[in-house]
Symmetry: D2
Subunit: 332 residues, 4 copies
């Protein structure tokens, strides 16, 4: 059986997912929706999918699943519509910027017994998955301290930032989910966060920060430290490190190549892969592969809508902690 | 315009190329030939190409190019047939195990003005290409010393070895071509080589060696040292290092992931990508992309049939040097 | 002129300093005080110094400087005595566990115009100093985010912990000073800290933590994140990373050797140098060399008594933050 | 008992050994000979040793051992004189540039039952020793292929080169000994070598080469490849790699510090330690410590005079191979 997809939203991330689907045996892209002609036509040309409206896609019984890559404020509504139309749903993070709205949306998902996967792509990165595998295998013993570094090569457009929900809900939410992934079931019970405007004062004027850190604590006292920056001159900086009673496991960055030049100035290696589309190209493929497999086999979907909600709640708590300058308890 | 390909030979390397073609915009696989049903059908299913005989493929005017991935002893004949049929040709190395036969074949290629590319995939590896780019940019100054390490994870089947022409013509030929690629136009004038049977005595009984080294000298005295082994327990070991008057550039191996486990036994990183299909997956794609682009634009093809001949002549000289225990002059 | 030293306290760190003095031209160890016979005699035998009481050392006009390596609760009194005796003073950190006591002590130091250096050895580590040099040279642009990792191979004896003032005042104080060293003049204005008992519950029963993190903010919003653990199975983990507007500079760990073993299990490197005496052996030498040079040339001493006080105040603020679960403002 | 040393020759390497002795418990430098006032006085001032003639040193019954660091053409005579005077002898390599003269000298050493150690310092390098330890522990299985890279930061003065015996006897001799050290008892039976003049044509005019490689074969077919250059812009390049049936062990270079700067140009690490005195400072200390221990305990001395002879014979064979352009059999 081939899983037939409808794509809602043909922007940067929609295009990334469309490309990934082309390389997955047992999956095909059937239809694409985007109000922007150029964006939609690009996908049509690339994949052979037809262009269609959201309604047409949801009404098409031959389409098994939708990929929701539209702007964030449309996610929750489209999830509910697709759920009622009986589609399996892959939705880019976040479901919504309001935790309350997410909870309402997840009730519809639950009531319709819809398969919903949230696009926390980093769980599917070969390296992070291998680190988690080491943890599961007991190689680090009991986890004590997790450190996550995530720095973008540069800030997104100011207009994007204004609608993004802020650094914690837009950027750190990936790391908050990664923290939960690495702690593997032990939930975070409190957070302390702080942020600064150091990269671009316009970001501050827009009410956001561009440099931030959060310290999370789990029930048993495990500590997670996340640092974020909207700037990294040397590429897309994505590292994790997990320290435990028996050892430590870390996943390093990926350079654009393995070449080193040695001369009188020292040893020079290449910068990092530049941004998420290069860095996580394989992860996007694995993510969709996992979604396809779950649909085919009926196995549970992960990360689920609940995982999306949990990460958002942590992001909200971070914002509250930054504002109150105090630790914030998270209701688990 | 889409370049239409016929594939001759659907074994391991044929399948690799077929996969690469699927990912190249402007290229498609139209027909596949292989006497083995399972092999041919696998390609048919994967790519939508039709199964056909060699004659049918060569007679099909809609097919622009052929990929010759058949056993080595069929290469030269098929190159000549395809050249006469007006196809562009991509042929896996070597053209033939006899330099004399290669020379005769290249005369036909020349007479028919055929575009012929030889499958020295390593020239298209991101890392080796980046190293060569450093050399071209003058970053190492005048090249003085080149070191190439190539070790297979394990020896091929004995039956393969018996028909392979021996380690120098089958395995080191890649490194001999890489040496010429890195010296960028300055030809090798003499070689000294030696080999041992250390991995498997059956290889020795078959008249071959499994561990070998060659020292090459260029006209101006540049030195290239190649070491080969049919064994590498830690994966597919592929490294180069170029030392010059202003610096040194090296390309390191690729590990299966970037994860490190640190514990009381030290720091442990993952083994290397296991073999050429994983290690050079991107290189195979770039190689075919380069071939497609050369057909489309009419630009010169590299590596050419002459490059294939030169590498074989160096391999022959290595064998002669190993046997005579003396340096062998190569007629340039 | 040769600077003549009296050593007060011949324990582990006293012995380290005595060894360092032997290798410094223009310095000699003249006398050693320790109530424990074996400790004192070991130094006598190693260095040729004579054994003496504290009073004798302070009264000996031929002795220019004292090294205070006694238990912490004796430091402040001995600094005052030595200051009044006209000696230059090198004192191990901390001056005292009470910031108030330190302030009183520094008044005596100031009144007597005594040269006082505090033993923050990490400032003299080749690697950390090279990182700071990069910052000073403008290579990272404006500093935005500093990350410091410090993990001991294992916890000290419980008796030590009980008298140590706790992890923040005993262990993290080094990192707090390093943070100030790397920020180079921009003071910390607030701290948020947390700690857990994950390594040994007896540490918790003694009222201390064994795993901790602190987030510091400077006046302009620069952020420093420190993580500490009393456990690191793979050696003494000491890393820093400074991220700025133009780049990032980091100093990596030091392994016991440069050997890598590659086999079917991957690539294995040696563990780290085991503890501070091996890791910072060169730093201890440079530190004392710096002290000797400052005495000889009359140049300012750094880190000063004030640096010692500032680090202690930050440690106190961390403890307060951990207890109050809120950010604590530091009076600069 | 303290071993008392007389130093013959207070040049660069003599000074290195004198410094090493100062740090060895149970050893002291008693007397120094050098016709150059400044060189001798420097050692006197540094160590407290007295200045003396060779005859005085050999006649002084309180001196147990001599360090021969004079020009090469004086080594053999001084070894014989010291042997007859009953001294233990540490002699810098080579014993002589003539293998015949070495053999005659070793007869005197044998007849007088003299303890003679040859200064192949690299055997005592922590990293190379750790690699050998891995081999001895069976971690690489049966050794198959050894690769040694040795590149000096720059060529020595032309006058030095003229008297040095040439690159093979002066520089590669260290690597030839290292090859024997790593093969641990299995002797080399043939060599193939080549050399070029690429760094400085004046070296060629002086009859020497500045870039060279040698391929050695042991009785069982193990292969050793050595590459040498008198140039390395990035520091003193000293690496080994041993490949065997179960794995590979390698020892990497040592950088001047562990700092990395990451910016838009990539990742930059520090150059290597600059030359042998920095790179092998610890090795010189361990080497002399080993000599002192052997004198104290009566244990066998390694590397012995015979090791010195073997390395020279291999160097001679390399020269012969380079000149004859053929493999040269070595009489074991």
């Amino acid at each position: 059986m081939t899983i037939s997809f409808g794509l809602l939203g043909a922007g940067r991330i929609g295009k990334t997912h469309a490309t990934a689907i082309l390389g997955i045996p047992g999956a095909k892209l059937t239809a694409v929706y985007d109000p922007v002609d150029a964006a939609a036509e690009h996908i049509v040309k690339m994949s052979g999918a037809r262009r269609a409206s959201v309604d047409e896609i949801l009404a098409d019984k031959s389409i098994h699943a939708v990929l929701i890559c539209t702007p964030t404020d449309m996610h929750a509504d489209q999830i509910e519509l697709a759920a009622k139309a009986g589609k399996a749903i892959f939705c880019e993070k976040p479901v919504d910027l309001s935790a309350e709205r997410v909870r309402a949306c997840l009730k519809v998902v639950e009531a319709t017994k819809t398969k919903l996967m949230i696009g926390f792509n980093r769980r599917f990165d070969t390296n992070f998955a291998a680190a988690r595998h080491r943890i599961d295998a007991g190689d680090v013993g009991t986890v004590e301290l997790v450190q996550i570094v995530s720095r973008d090569p540069g800030p997104p457009p100011l207009e994007y930032i204004k609608r993004s929900g802020g650094l914690f809900r837009d950027m750190m939410i990936h790391d908050l989910d990664l923290a939960r992934f690495l702690l593997n079931g032990e939930e975070i019970v409190s957070v302390s966060a702080t942020g600064s405007v150091l990269v671009d004062s316009a970001i501050g004027e827009a009410g956001d920060v561009d440099t931030a850190t959060a310290t999370l604590r789990s029930k048993s006292g495990k500590i997670v430290v996340i640092t974020n920056s909207r700037r990294a001159t040397y590429g897309y900086d994505q590292r994790i490190e997990i320290h435990g009673s028996k050892g430590a496991v870390s996943a390093a960055n990926i350079h654009t190549n393995t070449v080193t030049l040695a001369n009188v100035d020292g040893y020079r290696e290449a910068p990092l892969l530049n941004f998420f589309m290069e860095r996580y190209a394989d992860a996007y493929r694995s993510e969709l592969q996992s979604f396809v497999t779950a649909i085919e086999t009926g196995s549970p979907i992960s990360p689920s809508g609940l995982d999306g909600l949990k990460a958002l709640e942590l992001a909200d708590a971070c914002v509250k902690s930054m504002q109150s300058r105090a630790e914030v308890v998270v209701v688990v």
